[in-house]
Amino acid sequence: MDQLTPVLQGFAVVLEPQNLLYCLVGVVVGMLIGVLPGLGPAATIAVLLPLTIGLEPVTSVIMLAGIFYGAQYGGTITSVLLRLPGEASSVVTVFDGYAMACQGRAGKALGIAAIGSFVGGTVSIVALSFVAPVVASFALDFGPPEYTALALLGILLVATVSGGGRVKALAAACVGLLLATVGRDGFTGAQRFTFGDLNLADGIDFVPIAMGLFGLGEILHALEERHRRVQAPPTLTRVWPDRADMRQASGAIGRGSVIGFVLGILPGGGAVLSSLAAYALEKRRSKTPERFGKGAIEGVAAPETANNAAATSSFIPLLTLGIPANATMAVIFGALLVQGVTPGPRLVDEDPELFWGVINSMYVGNILLLIMSIPMVGIFVRVLQVRGAILAPITVMVTLVGVYTVRSSVFDIGLVVAFGVLGYLMKKAGFDPGPLVLAFVLGSLLESNLRRSLLLFDGDPTGFLTRPISGVLFAAFAVVVLLPLTTRLLRGRRGGPRDDDRSGGRPDTKELV
């Protein structure tokens, strides 16, 4: 019973009226921005970071988590009704979801997506509740060399699976690592890359980078897409999934939960990859794969279940190891740092209220999501009638005012603008800003742990390979680096088809609309 006490206390934290309210706010905001194409969860969380400063740490993370998993469901609505994926993780839902809507089965598609999201999310939370403390206690044995290896592996994996090509992602990650070195050296106190500027003496703050790259950059990029087809408001047929639909989709929901949970934990996996993987698996397993793309209910259930499960399970590496698994988690990591909480293996013992409060809030959030999803579809679709020319300036203003409130620094406003321009140019040139932000967050972790371990080893780098855990992690690192190279070499020798489709990675939402 002793282990259960902190879990139950976590529920007590969640049920405080203030936390319930912010959970609701987070889920609603998440669904809204999930509906809006062009503004992803990472961008929204970045823009809303300053709002959380006045709140308790647990309350603010409950809200930000709600935004993340709420957005996974919001993207479904527009995918199904308008063939317009609001989120990258809902791109595959378009194929069967829109086909179902054309057949007058939009209500069934949305219903099964809501049920799948709920089941996937809940399965993932239950697994999270059991896995997270185990991982955390295991991670207590981690020393600086292990953290060095983990951070390196995390950056590499994110760069490998992110959209827009591997080389570009690696380049972005390197820029992020470089930016992390700006400021005072933690060991010698020397000034690095500050150009004698006092504003840079403490390094670049995470908040302006996230707000600039994700917030401002995405808004600028979204403004550019003007000649998009304007559609009539969709009519929702009130036909809900019946028993036969549930039976047909139950297998897909079960498998989607597992895929989502597993891929969510892996660095770089997250919601986008897991929805793609779950869809591909269902199509391969199906006895009638030709139905996919023509309104197969499994084609909606599987990716929608998987993306919610992944959104939940990606909290595991953040809360137990202190390593964000994807860009959105990197922003939440930043939010925790702003609050003065350092996520890591000691979090579950030192701050059980925050740890269990956040995890248990997801049960509540998933129930809220299930209740609100269907009745409020009409309201969410109305949001799409707001023109970008009205929405964008408001968001920019909120961003700039917000960043000023964090440190009352005009220099930070300049930084947001500079990183906004950088983010816009990156998106135009096909670079994903995700690896940059992630590498920036992991950069300081990587550097301090690398130097600490080199001090431990008296400057002998072979020490990394002789310790069991860090040795295994570095072996994994080598496999991730070498595997694509060798497969390409082998294929090149056989003269087979080139592996071009993988470099495409995540299909861009723009291509589909």
Partner: protein, 133 residues
């Protein structure tokens, strides 16, 4: 030469379409339906859905009139877009719908119908929807 009608999915738009159909039959010309919502948002109540378009098509087919439907979003002013298309399809007459607007509303929002009437270099047929109640 064609008959051009500015169409919206409302009672007024219906009245304009009915009048334009009649006019096209009288003149023995093709009918061009222009539905132009303002661009910038993904969804607009001014846009016509696919089902509504097939409804228009079947009505035109019944009347034996060749129908061309143009659905394109416009930047800036709807009146300019209508007149631009009128030049493009060489319309012999432009059919538009009128509605009553309060003077304050007209002051704030302007009137697309008024701009079309004043700026058009071709005949304009203005139709009012039958009173709803």
């Amino acid at each position: 030469m064609t008959v051009l009608v500015g169409y919206l999915p409302t009672a007024r738009g219906e009245a304009a379409f009915a009048a334009a159909l009649e006019e096209a039959r009288r003149r023995g010309e093709d009918l061009v339906v222009l539905n132009t919502p303002r661009s910038g948002a993904s969804v607009s109540t001014d846009a016509v859905g696919d089902e509504a378009v097939s409804g228009l098509r079947s009505r035109a087919a019944e009347a034996g009139i060749p129908l061309h439907v143009r659905r394109q979003a416009h930047e800036g002013d709807a009146a300019d877009e209508l007149l631009r298309v009128a030049d493009e399809v060489d319309a012999s007459v432009v059919v538009i719908a009128l509605r009553r607007r309060s003077s304050v509303g007209k002051l704030l929002m302007g009137s697309t119908a008024q701009r079309v009437l004043l700026a058009a270099t071709r005949p304009v047929l203005a139709v009012r929807a039958p009173a709803a109640h």
